[in-house]
Symmetry: C2
Subunit: 346 residues, 2 copies
């Protein structure tokens, strides 16, 4: 029924082994023979059986990319970059790898489930993007799982996440703390003193580091860290909107709002505008990430640009073993302060 390697071999009048060799291209085969085999493949419209191939070879061409939220360009940009380095020649069979992105939705269970599924498929590599959940139980389970993956020969790379001690995972970490520090430093230099902070979800490394940077900047300036002006929420537009209304309630004299990321900042801008405040004349706003739409906001967002695409591409190359791992298995990726129209003097 379904055509197999043996069928191709019969038609090309060679042994199955030879067909396998031309298909995988990792072994010398006479040009004429190769020709004949390829024609037979085309004639029969043969497609390699992936599971059988992976079973026999004890490895697959699957590369998993885990993202917290596939609808968020922050992850989409990284995932696309990872994938662009993974596709193309280099795979085992047919020279193509299957880069697959898995959407965890930010759920620790789903993260683990996907890793198990990838482990089950004997994935060649796994790239995990974005911040981690800070829960002791989950961290332990994750560490164990990553270790298991490494032992099974799956290369693990973290992109935009702190290192995972106790594992062999390579980490490209974003300097969220430093970025947050510079952002707030910028506001302070403009004379702002009553600064609201809209943080991401609690128990997320990204959230915590950005917030710590903010508070360090405040502390450096000898100011109170203003816990009462911090509101947590998800990394979405609605959160920025709601949180801003809440901040305004707590401190009507607010002169600046720092948002967990650009998307949240957009919601903050909407809320401020609806409350009759002008940006940046009455209140300054900043975001984080510098997503593509940020430059088109009105006024354009002051933010911290993270080289998402570069980082993703690098993670992809490391996952493929095409780039040297950073010393110690950890590299820090800095964000650059981008000052635009949404911030001004207090």
């Amino acid at each position: 029924m379904t055509v197999t390697l043996a069928d191709v071999a019969a038609r090309a009048q060679v042994s199955p082994a030879t067909v396998s060799r031309v298909l995988n291209g990792n072994y010398p085969v006479a040009a004429a023979t190769r020709e004949r085999v390829l024609r037979a493949v085309a004639d029969l419209d043969y497609v390699l059986n992936g599971p059988a191939s992976s079973l026999a070879a004890a490895t697959s061409d699957l590369v998993g990319i885990l993202v917290n939220d596939i609808a968020d360009p922050f992850f989409g940009i990284m995932a696309g970059a990872v994938q662009s380095e993974i596709g193309g020649p280099g795979g085992r069979a047919g020279g193509e790898r299957l880069a697959v992105v898995c959407n965890t939705g930010g759920s620790p269970e789903r993260e683990l489930t996907y890793l198990t599924l990838l482990q089950r498929q004997r994935a060649a590599a796994v790239v995990i993007t974005g911040g981690a959940i800070e829960d002791a139980g989950h961290a332990q389970a994750l560490t164990a799982k990553l270790q298991r993956l490494s032992e099974a020969g799956t290369r693990v790379v973290l992109c935009g996440r702190p290192p995972a001690p106790g594992t062999e995972a390579i980490a490209l970490t974003f300097d969220n703390r430093g970025g947050g520090h510079r952002l707030t430093g910028h506001l302070l230099s403009l004379g702002h003193r009553r600064i609201g902070y809209i943080a991401g979800p609690e128990e997320r490394t990204t959230t915590r580091h950005r917030l710590e940077g903010h508070r360090e900047a405040l502390a450096d300036a000898g100011l109170p860290t203003g816990e009462e002006l911090t509101v947590h929420g998800p990394y979405d537009r609605g959160s920025g909107y709601e949180a801003t209304l809440e901040l305004l309630r707590r401190e009507p004299g607010l002169t600046a709002v720092v948002a967990a990321n650009d998307t949240v900042a957009l919601g903050a801008c909407a809320a401020l505008r609806e409350s009759g405040r002008r940006i940046p004349d009455d209140v300054s706003v900043c975001g984080f990430d510098d997503l593509p739409f940020s430059v088109d906001a009105v006024p354009a967002l002051t933010t911290v640009r993270l080289p998402l695409s570069d980082a993703g591409a690098r993670a992809g190359r490391i996952a493929m073993g095409r780039e040297k791992e950073p010393p110690g298995g950890v590299a820090t990726v800095r964000g650059e302060l981008v000052v635009r129209g949404s911030t001004g003097r207090a």
Copy 2:
């Protein structure tokens, strides 16, 4: 080295067959035996070998989701919705399916490559999102490939793409033509007559249908279809920006701009603003899709809302065989005109 089914069987003192049966849960096993097996699985930290399992069963738990641009929320939202319906119980082994999204980057070759890869993996289903490339050669190759997939037992669902005649693929098509028609109708009713159109890439069904709707509306009103005021470009911000400058050059008296989608519209707004024009006082702008950021644009974008999330979820359910297929295998999903601040009287 790596623990196998046999190891689990030995530890649980049952036969491999029994272990397989409890793992797949599709066969009666005594509760006590099941207990023992599950404990052994936990003790040994056993993970099923996916390739071996798929090989023996001649099917896998992989479900592929093809997207044109993973960094674009338009696709991210659909992909996330598809995936939310695919995950969870229902899979063969362990009750979990691996929903994987593949980024074609809009390239026909990559689309085919990914489909082959998925075919190779004996994917349970494939959901293809977004418009198709209108190239006779590619269409033929794609039809053949989809047919091959169907024959191999892979369910194929198109989401946001016209039906593929000659295949068994189910299609949830967006009414891009109708949406485009209503959008332009709205502008005409506001008195606009000199309307620029920024179309997406040529040879894309989405592009063509939206544009046709636009021209039909013009024709219905007895106006020329204004081919000289149509500019093509990719579905991104930069395209909107450049195209708008070009349109302004061709017709400085433009009173409205219709963009291929919201992202393009954002770029158009930026260009208009930089040219000193106010929106909507001098020039009205509309987008398409109603992505999350569109409501936060200033002024908020008039657009056509596509139920991306609903459509994706439905596609996912159909792919899983959990929802009845639409009659004739085709369903049309309408877009709703959403009038906001970016459009006003001419």
